[in-house]
């Protein structure tokens, strides 16, 4: 019985990693860099184009989210037999549909429903 419990416990421990001091420090260092650069870009206005700045800080945000997932939340393809990854991928798909769908539809609604616009194109 005690052997059984031990096996189950070991399996549980393997199911969710806890990370090491080294991984936490690497994650923290990367996060500081990935946070500082976007703030510096916006506050100093180094890049002339606003669009280029916006795209760059979005790339930095995405990179920092991945860093947090790996080094702080200890995500890996194998944790909980892959079910955490499945849940994450499913959520990302839904989040992607929600965000892109809302922005896309509402942008066109805004553009096409401008006062005067609809009337001027009336037959």
């Amino acid at each position: 019985m005690s052997a059984d419990t031990h096996v189950v416990h070991a399996d549980h421990a393997a199911g969710h990693g806890h990370g090491s001091l080294r991984s936490y420090l690497i994650g923290f260092g990367l996060s500081v860099v990935l946070t500082a650069i976007p703030f510096w870009l916006v506050m100093s206005g180094v890049l002339d184009s606003r669009q280029a700045t916006a795209l760059t800080i979005m790339v930095f945000a995405a990179a920092q989210i991945v860093v947090h997932m790996i080094f702080f939340l200890h995500m890996s393809a194998g944790s909980e037999n892959g079910w955490t990854m499945m849940a994450l991928i499913f959520t990302l798909v839904i989040v992607g549909i929600t965000l892109s769908g809302s922005l896309w539809v509402m942008y066109h609604l805004n553009v096409n429903m401008m006062p005067g616009h609809a009337m001027s194109h009336m037959p």
Binding site: Y24, F28, S31, A61, I65, L73, E80, I94, V95
Partner: protein, 211 residues
């Protein structure tokens, strides 16, 4: 089907219509996965709030714009508070693994202090904005701003309540298996809130200044 039930009644056995659980699950074995799925549902709440902010973020109604309101150095300080609290919670988890109760409690206290600093700075920012007339009722931009950032701040506040509760639990019962599991859940919650904050400072504050 009918015959089977009849037979079951005949032999005076209660028919069983569900699968008997064939193997034991250790207590809390599925907590991490279940909590992860909760976090993913929380992620959807924030996705919807981000989408609302994305749609309404430019509707100032002739009111103040992000450039008039946001103080980026203050946001940078706030961001570093949350990031520091993330790493100190990591240290709390590492000392918990070694079973050192005192060190775990101290790191949790440091984490909670950084969390309190974060909420305090955010509340003072809100108070400053409201004092200047930038209330949630002023424009669609401000409504969606206060909803999104406020929901995140509320999550951090509840995380702090949870953290204090766990510190009392650890003080009373030590680092027992149940408390380790609870601390692991709060660790996921706390790091998840930091992930959401990355989205907030990027899309709300930094992109707001670029609009």
């Amino acid at each position: 089907m009918n015959t089977r039930i009849t037979i079951a009644q005949d032999s005076a056995e209660v028919p069983v219509f569900y699968l008997a659980d064939e193997h034991e699950h250790a207590e809390g074995a599925s907590t991490a996965l279940g909590f992860w799925i909760y976090l993913m549902s929380d992620c959807l709440i924030f996705a919807v709030l981000f989408a609302i902010f994305g749609v309404l973020g430019g509707n100032y109604a002739a009111g103040p714009s992000p450039r008039d309101l946001f103080d980026l150095p203050l946001v940078a300080v706030n961001t570093s508070m949350l990031l520091l609290s993330s790493i100190t919670y990591g240290f709390a988890m590492l000392t918990m693994e070694k079973g050192r109760i005192g060190a775990t409690q101290r790191w949790l206290a440091v984490t909670a202090l950084f969390g309190v600093a974060f909420v305090g700075i955010e509340l003072s920012e809100f108070a400053h904005m409201i004092h200047e007339g930038a209330t949630p009722q002023r424009s669609a931009f401000l409504s969606s701003f206060f909803t999104l950032v406020g929901t995140h701040g509320l999550h951090v506040t509840f995380g702090l309540v949870w953290m204090v509760t766990l510190m009392v639990q650890v003080a009373q019962h030590g680092l027992i298996e149940a408390n380790r599991r609870r601390l692991m859940c709060l660790s996921m919650f706390w790091h998840f809130l930091d992930v959401i904050w990355i989205g907030v400072f990027t899309f709300v504050y930094l992109m707001g200044m670029l609009r």
